[in-house]
């Protein structure tokens, strides 16, 4: 059996600097999955992009050969020397790619459906209606509950995970021979991730599709990959069949990587909790309803209850983690917690800067109050690329918060920026770059660095480590923990990765459909999950052990429609059971 796609001795560099991809070779066979894992910034994305010949303008391909096997016995094609015209026939039709940053990768001015079905329009000779039905079918398979709505939505109306799923649908709807998936599930909660991975597997089985999967998640690798390529600093460290590498890593870097993989610990010692809690931020009955103005004059307005009556607080010096399904309102909650979105009337969000100080309601802050608050509270954004001004050097982007609040001299600011970069594991030399010249994980770290610049007391982290490889993730988590303990920082931490949550959180809220369905400390939640959805989440958490595949049964049961849950938890249309205290610190949304 011959390889479908072969990459040989690929070397890519920028300007006259040392190559960032150095002598990389790999190949993938039909129906198989190749996982590219490795350090953030090690050149995974660039290697994948070179297969489609869509490298950044500044990148030079210094050497290498990429061959695509011909279809139906036709001779192999050398992708490097193919004419641009013919290349268009390859892209999207034979090889398609899921990009790492879903928000920026979608055109802001076109409806999702339009953008997705375009692949079919370009390569398949089928009617418009047919196209639409195929796209809708694909949307359902990537886990959209309301495919029609998504079809007519604009990217900015969707949550991060939804955009990413749209991208996945776009890449797969044309049923390519080779799918290059660059961190396809970073923004997805584990249940959706499991679903998507399942989908990829299905398609692979059906059509013999080859998959190149770039991921930071060894759990995903364990579940998906047939073979693995481990990269570090532009070089391939180790490559070979998945079982061998996962079970018996030979190279030092691979071993380090395996060691750094977080896991939900077997048992967490119960911690003592004070009764009288000091909340730095408290959300009371917070709701947010988006009204989608109908796309056309006839359709009624769509009301999206993004967040429905959330009640929780972030303790000073502690971490509240929010996990939940994609689109369940996590980001919206986070943005309301920072006053960036106005909550519906009746909600109150109280912030207490100092212990015992008067709480201020973010809903009705004056200008000065807001400024003072903004200095204390910062956010690490879910989608770092779009939150960085493309025309600002990293240097300026990092010092901007200090600039705004007039902290320090300009020298101080630069020094601090350099230091922050080092904290998050980046080189200070990157300060003069523009945001586009970073890898996905590097940008995420920039976002963290920026949030730390002012030394905030309250930090909202929206999927701060989703794009980081496990070793860097470990480093960043370590950093976050350190400063939390040192400076008594408090976090509202949103993540899809339960292992990370288990590690860092003091309290965890599980969200589904804009509602908190279960809340409790990790030790309780992960070892005694009550709610079917929580159970599903845990079951869907992939583990870097090739012998422990995800149990899709539990996943599909818990992640299914709330109306299909067991009696006690079942939602009746919009009516949900009340959130009931079941343990000392444990709340579950159920009828008792």
């Amino acid at each position: 059996m011959t390889a479908l796609l072969t990459v040989e001795n690929l070397t890519i560099g920028f300007g006259d600097a040392a190559p960032v991809v150095n002598d990389v070779s790999f190949s993938v066979n039909a129906g198989k999955t190749l996982a590219l894992v490795g350090e953030s910034g090690s050149g995974k994305t660039l290697s994948c992009r070179s297969a489609l010949r869509i490298l950044p303008a500044a990148a030079q391909m210094r050497s290498g050969k990429i061959t695509l096997a011909g279809r139906n016995g036709k001779p192999d094609v050398d992708l490097m020397s193919l004419s641009e015209r013919k290349m268009c026939g390859v892209r999207g039709e034979r090889i398609s790619m899921i990009f790492q940053e879903p928000m920026r990768s979608l055109s802001p001015l076109h409806r999702i459906g339009n953008q997705v079905s375009e692949v079919l329009r370009l390569h398949k000779n089928i009617s418009k209606a047919e196209r639409k039905s195929r796209v809708l079918a694909m949307f359902e398979r990537v886990g959209f509950k309301d495919a029609e709505r998504v079809y007519d939505s604009y990217p900015f109306e969707l949550s991060g995970g939804m955009r990413q799923r749209a991208m996945i649908a776009m890449a797969m709807v044309g049923r390519p021979d080779i799918l290059i998936a660059d961190e396809p599930t970073t923004a997805l909660d584990v249940t959706t991730q499991a679903q998507v991975l399942g989908l990829i597997k299905d398609l692979q089985a059906e059509y013999g599709m080859a998959v190149v999967l770039v991921t930071h998640d060894l759990g995903v690798v364990a579940n998906m990959a047939d073979s693995v390529v481990v990269m570090n600093r532009g070089r391939v460290m180790e490559a070979g069949p998945a079982p061998l590498i996962l079970n018996d890593p030979k190279h030092g870097y691979t071993r380090d990587l395996m060691a750094a993989a977080p896991e939900i610990p077997e048992a967490i010692p119960e911690q003592k909790r004070e009764e009288d809690r000091d909340y730095i931020l408290e959300m009371r009955e917070v709701s947010k309803t988006y009204v989608l103005k109908g796309g056309s004059a006839w359709k009624p307005k769509t009301v999206i209850p993004a967040v429905r009556g959330v009640n929780f607080g972030v303790e000073r010096g502690k971490t509240l983690a929010v996990v939940g399904e994609s689109g369940s309102g996590k980001t919206t909650t986070a943005q309301m917690a920072l006053g960036a979105e106005v909550a519906d009337t009746g909600s109150s969000i109280l912030f207490r800067a100092e212990p015992g100080a008067d709480a201020v309601n973010l809903q009705d802050l004056d200008k000065a109050g807001r400024l003072a608050f903004q200095r204390k509270a910062q956010m690490v954004f879910q989608d770092p690329y779009s939150t960085l001004n493309p025309r600002m050097r990293v240097k300026d982007a990092l010092v901007e918060p200090m600039d705004i609040h007039g902290v320090g001299s300009s020298q101080d600011r630069i020094e601090r920026a350099a230091e922050m970069l080092r904290w998050v594991g980046l080189s200070e030399n990157m300060l003069t770059r523009y945001p586009h010249a970073f890898s996905g994980g590097q940008r995420q770290r920039l976002s963290i660095a920026r949030a730390l610049m002012l030394g905030p007391t309250f930090l909202v982290c929206d999927e701060p480590t989703s794009a980081l490889d496990v070793s860097v993730q470990e480093q960043v988590l370590q950093l976050l923990e350190d400063i939390r303990d040192r400076l008594n920082l408090s976090y509202l931490f949103i993540s899809h990765d339960l292992a990370v949550v288990a590690r860092i959180a003091d309290d965890v809220a599980v969200m589904r459909s804009g509602l908190v369905v279960e809340q409790g400390p990790p030790e309780v939640l992960f070892h005694d999950p009550q709610h079917p959805y929580t159970k599903a989440l845990i079951a869907a958490q992939p583990e870097p052990d090739i012998n422990r595949p995800i149990d899709l049964n539990i996943v599909s049961q818990g992640a299914g429609e709330p109306s299909s849950w067991p009696e006690a938890f079942r939602f009746n249309g919009q009516d949900a059971p009340p959130l009931t205290q079941t343990g000392p610190n444990h709340k579950v949304r159920c009828y008792v």
């Binding site: 500044a58 190279h251 960036a340 030399n429 003069t432």
Partner: protein, 383 residues
């Protein structure tokens, strides 16, 4: 590299964990302008253009020195004299820069002037010589010229016009007005346009409504009658330059709505970008968001627009002169010169009187390439 027996590939270069210690780049401590300059330098055409513009502007005060004649100096025996060649060799011998003397003949067949050069005697140009009086940079009286015509001959590098004035000298003097006053109008219009457009686009709501109405009204107001009224209202003892100056400013004041609309509409969509929201969440004030985040993302358009307004401003006066408002003699500008050239004879017979088109095109192209270089240097994505 090693291929293990189980088919695995393992890199055998020594592996060590990243220390993160890397030599600090020199670039890091440079200011943004410096960095910009470094990138700008790579745009060859832009660099050349910038140098050209720089030299042009620097030499404006020295127009009097460089030009052999003063702008309104009429050589009565050389009406419509054609451009003269400055030669170096005579009869195969190097004599240094010289010209031939010419004599005018009235051709009553064609009713045009004929000039017959006397090719027997080369007449050498004089350098750093005394000529007619002028004021260096407008106030230092002087009469030294870089070069002048030899006794008994003329040096019309670009010919002479209907009244026997040297086109070359007039172009140099004309640059003083054409390259400066028009820019005032552009500046005014850009400042107003950007400020109001940003406010409308960024804040939206009521401010947007008000600004939009003002824009609409201003744009619906006719310019033509305004100019006519103005031409009657300007006090008669004002010099032509003062009138022109005022007009440039008014032109600028009337010109901003177009730009403001463009800025507004672009900002309406830019302000929905995530990075704007991020900046706001950091507490950035509107002025900062506008100047640091929104404007730079619209800079290309602004640069292109500015470049494009330049010819319009240089030539604005030619259109106005139809209404009796343009620049007039004794003021010299390129527009004035072209105005004089607006007849068939200037195209077909005395083609050199239409030469002022060239400096305009050159300057405008220079501004264009300069702008493009700037755009390029500011473009984060460029190669």
């Amino acid at each position: 590299m090693t291929i293990l027996p189980d088919g695995r590939f393992v890199d055998d270069a020594p592996y060590e964990t990243d220390t993160g210690a890397e030599a600090r780049h020199a670039e890091l401590d440079m200011s943004n302008t410096r960095l910009l300059w470094l990138r700008f330098k790579q745009h060859r055409l832009g660099l050349i253009s910038a140098l050209f513009l720089l030299i042009s502007y620097l030499s404006l005060p020295f127009a009097g020195f460089i030009s052999p004649y003063t702008p309104n100096e009429r050589l009565e025996d050389y009406l419509y004299a054609p451009p003269q060649l400055v030669r170096l060799f005579h009869d195969g011998k190097l004599v240094g820069p010289y010209v031939y003397g010419t004599t005018a003949e009235m051709d009553l067949e064609t009713f045009s002037w004929k000039y017959v050069p006397d090719t027997s005697t080369p007449m050498k140009l004089k350098f750093f010589c005394e000529g007619s009086d002028y004021k260096l940079s407008g106030f230092i009286p002087s009469n030294t010229h870089l070069f002048c015509a030899p006794e008994g001959a003329t040096v019309f590098l670009l010919g002479a016009d209907r009244l026997g004035r040297d086109v070359f000298s007039r172009i140099l003097y004309g640059a003083q007005l054409s390259l400066t006053v028009g820019l005032v109008g552009i500046t005014v219009s850009f400042v107003i346009g950007i400020i109001l457009g940003s406010i409308a686009g960024y804040f939206g709501g009521f401010l947007d409504w008000i600004i939009n109405r003002v824009i609409e009204i201003l744009r619906s107001l006719p310019e033509l009658p305004l100019w006519l009224a103005l031409s009657a209202a300007v006090p008669s003892h004002w010099g032509p330059v003062a009138v022109f100056f005022i007009i440039s400013i008014i032109l600028g004041i009337l010109d901003w709505p177009g730009l403001a609309r463009a800025v507004r509409s672009k900002f309406l969509s830019l302000r929905e970008e995530e990075f704007v929201r991020a900046a706001e969440m950091m507490g950035a004030k509107p002025s900062r968001v506008i100047s640091k985040h929104l404007l730079p993302n619209f800079l290309s358009h602004l640069i292109a627009s500015a470049t494009l307004s330049i010819p319009a401003m240089i030539l604005g006066e030619t259109a106005l002169s139809f209404l009796g408002l343009g620049l007039r003699a004794p003021a010299v500008s390129w527009g004035v010169m072209l105005n004089d050239a607006q007849n068939l004879a200037s195209i077909e017979i005395y083609w050199w009187t239409a030469i002022p088109m060239l400096p305009i095109v050159i300057v405008v192209l220079a501004f264009n390439f300069f702008g493009d270089g700037l755009r390029d240097a500011l473009d984060p994505n460029r190669s």
